[in-house]
C-alpha cells in the first residue's frame, strides 16, 4: 500500500482518454522537482502498459501500481 510513501501531488486522470493519463503524468513530472512523488489515477486500460514503459525509458522510478475499485493508481518518483 502507499501509506508509507509521501505523495507530493495527486493527478486524478480518471475519465481521461485523450490526451490520457500518461500525458498528464509527463506534464506533472516536468513541473515537479527531482525527488517528488506523483500519484496518477487512471481508468484507461492502456495505462498499465504505457505508464511503466515511459517511466522506465525516461529514467524515473515506478514505486507501485495499485488496483483500486474502478481505477488503477500509479506512484512515480521523479529521479532526474
Amino acid at each position: 500500500m502507499t501509506q508509507d510513501i509521501k505523495i507530493d501531488r495527486v493527478i486524478d486522470a480518471r475519465g481521461s482518454f485523450c490526451p490520457g493519463p500518461l500525458m498528464e503524468l509527463i506534464k506533472a513530472i516536468k513541473e515537479a522537482k527531482v525527488g517528488e512523488v506523483i500519484s496518477v489515477y487512471s481508468s484507461d486500460s492502456g495505462s498499465k502498459r504505457d505508464i511503466p514503459i515511459w517511466v522506465e525509458k525516461a529514467g524515473h522510478e515506478l514505486l507501485g501500481v495499485f488496483d483500486r475499485d474502478s481505477y488503477t493508481e500509479f506512484v512515480v518518483r521523479k529521479k532526474r
Binding site: D12, C18, P21, E31, I53
Partner: protein
C-alpha cells in the same frame, strides 16, 4: 440585475455569452464579454493555412458580429481577477465587477520554454502557419520532423494529423519520393487513444510515414539540425515542426488562480473553479485532464451558459458536464475519422471514411453561424 462577466471571446466565451443571452431575460441579466483582440480566430483552420489550402483571412471574424445583441463587448485585456472583491481589472485601467465570472481565456504559447525553439516552425498561430506554408511551398526535399514540445497542448491529434496531411500534400505535388516525414510521438503508440492508434499506425505505414515513439521534445540544437528528447534520444532534421509549449494565460497566473502550469483547478462536473461558487471556467483554461479542444470548450460552454441562466431565473434543473468530446481527424486523401467519448465511455475503435472528412469540412462552415451561436 445580475452581472455576468466573461473573459475571453474564443470558442468557450462566445458560446457561453450567446446561450446565456438567449436563456436569461435582458431585464435581469447584464452580460459583458471582454476580449483582448475583438477578433475571433478559427484555430483548426491553421493546419490548412500551413498546407496552402486555406486563406488566412477566412479564419478571422469580428467578435461583435458573432455575439447576441444583448451582450456588451469590451475590447481590452483582463490583467487581474480579484475573487474576494468580485472585480476584474483591465489593461486600460477600467475595473468591472461581477456576480458571476466565466474565465475562458484559453491557452498561451510559450516557445521560449523550449531551448532552441527559434529553429523550429509550427502551425499553432496564424502568422506561424503562414510562414510554414511558404517554407513547405519551397521545400525541395529532405527529412521533415514533427514533434511536441510540452504537455498539455491544444488538440492532441493535431500533430499526427499534420504528418498524415503532409503525406497527402507532397503526393499531390508529385514530390513525395523526395520527402521523408518523421513523426515523434510522446507516447508508446502513435496516437493518444489506444483504440484508435492501430488505425492511425496503418495509415502512417501505408503512407510511408516514419515515427519514433516515446520522444518528448526537450531541446533543439540548431547548429547541428538535431532535436533531443527528454527520454535521451536525438534525431536529425532538415525541416523541424514543433508544437510550442503551452501555459495558462497571464491573467490567471497573476491572479494566483492557476496551478504550476497556469491552468485553473476546475471541478470536472460543475465547471466551477475549485473553492469558488461564482467563478466558472471553460475550455483550454481549465486543468481538467481531457483534450484541450474546441469541441470540449463547446460542450462545456453550453452547460455553463444554461446553468448560470437557471441560477439567475431561479428555476430549471442544472446540468453536469459529462466529459463529452467529439473530434474529426483528417487523415488526408479526403478520408477521416470520428472520435467521440466522455468520462464514462472510452472512444470506440475508429473507422476511416469519406463521410468524416466531409463532416470536418462542414464543421468549418457551420462554426460561425451554428456552433458559436450555441444552437447545437
Amino acid at each position: 440585475m445580475k452581472k455576468v462577466l466573461i473573459l475571453g471571446g474564443g470558442v468557450g466565451g462566445t458560446i457561453v455569452a450567446n446561450v446565456l443571452a438567449r436563456r436569461a431575460s435582458p431585464n435581469e441579466t447584464n452580460i459583458t464579454l471582454v476580449d483582448a483582440t475583438g477578433r475571433h480566430v478559427y484555430q483548426p483552420g491553421f493546419i490548412y493555412v500551413a498546407l496552402g489550402d486555406e486563406k488566412p483571412e477566412n479564419l478571422v471574424r469580428d467578435e461583435r458580429g458573432l455575439l447576441d445583441k444583448h451582450v456588451n463587448l469590451v475590447i481590452d485585456e483582463a490583467i487581474l481577477i480579484d475573487p474576494d472583491e468580485k472585480k476584474v481589472r483591465l489593461k486600460s485601467g477600467r475595473i468591472l465587477d461581477y456576480d458571476y465570472l466565466v474565465v475562458a481565456t484559453g491557452a498561451r504559447l510559450c516557445p521560449e520554454e523550449l531551448p532552441g525553439f527559434e529553429a523550429a516552425h509550427h502551425f499553432y498561430d496564424l502568422d506561424a502557419s503562414v510562414r510554414l506554408s511558404r517554407v513547405l511551398d519551397s521545400f525541395s526535399g529532405g527529412r521533415i520532423v514533427i514533434g511536441i514540445g510540452g504537455m498539455p497542448y491544444k488538440c492532441p491529434p493535431a500533430p499526427v494529423e499534420f504528418a498524415c496531411l503532409l503525406d497527402y500534400y507532397f503526393t499531390r505535388r508529385g514530390s513525395r519520393h523526395k520527402v521523408e516525414i518523421h513523426y515523434l510521438s510522446p507516447l508508446p503508440r502513435v496516437f493518444p487513444i489506444e483504440s484508435v492508434a492501430h488505425l492511425v499506425q496503418e495509415i502512417m505505414d501505408s503512407g510511408g510515414i516514419k515515427y519514433t515513439q516515446l520522444f518528448n521534445v526537450e531541446r533543439i540544437e540548431p547548429e547541428n539540425n538535431l532535436v533531443h528528447s527528454l527520454e535521451g534520444e536525438s534525431l536529425k532534421y532538415d525541416l523541424l515542426i514543433v508544437v510550442p509549449p503551452h501555459r495558462g494565460t497571464k491573467v490567471v497566473e497573476n491572479s494566483g488562480l492557476g496551478d504550476r502550469g497556469g491552468w485553473i483547478p476546475t471541478d470536472k462536473y460543475t465547471l466551477k473553479a475549485k473553492g469558488y461558487d461564482d467563478i466558472y471556467v471553460v475550455g483550454d483554461a481549465t486543468d481538467i485532464p481531457i483534450s484541450k479542444a474546441g469541441a470540449t470548450a463547446h460542450y462545456e460552454a453550453k452547460v455553463v451558459g444554461e446553468n448560470i441562466a437557471a441560477d439567475i431565473r431561479g428555476s430549471g434543473t442544472k446540468r453536469l458536464y459529462d466529459g463529452k468530446v467529439q473530434c474529426f481527424f483528417d487523415a488526408g486523401f479526403k478520408k477521416g475519422m470520428r472520435i467521440a467519448f466522455d468520462y464514462e465511455h472510452p472512444p470506440k475503435p475508429a473507422r476511416l471514411s469519406r463521410r468524416w472528412y466531409y463532416m470536418k469540412m462542414l464543421i468549418k462552415k457551420i462554426y460561425w453561424s451554428v456552433i458559436l451561436k450555441g444552437w447545437i
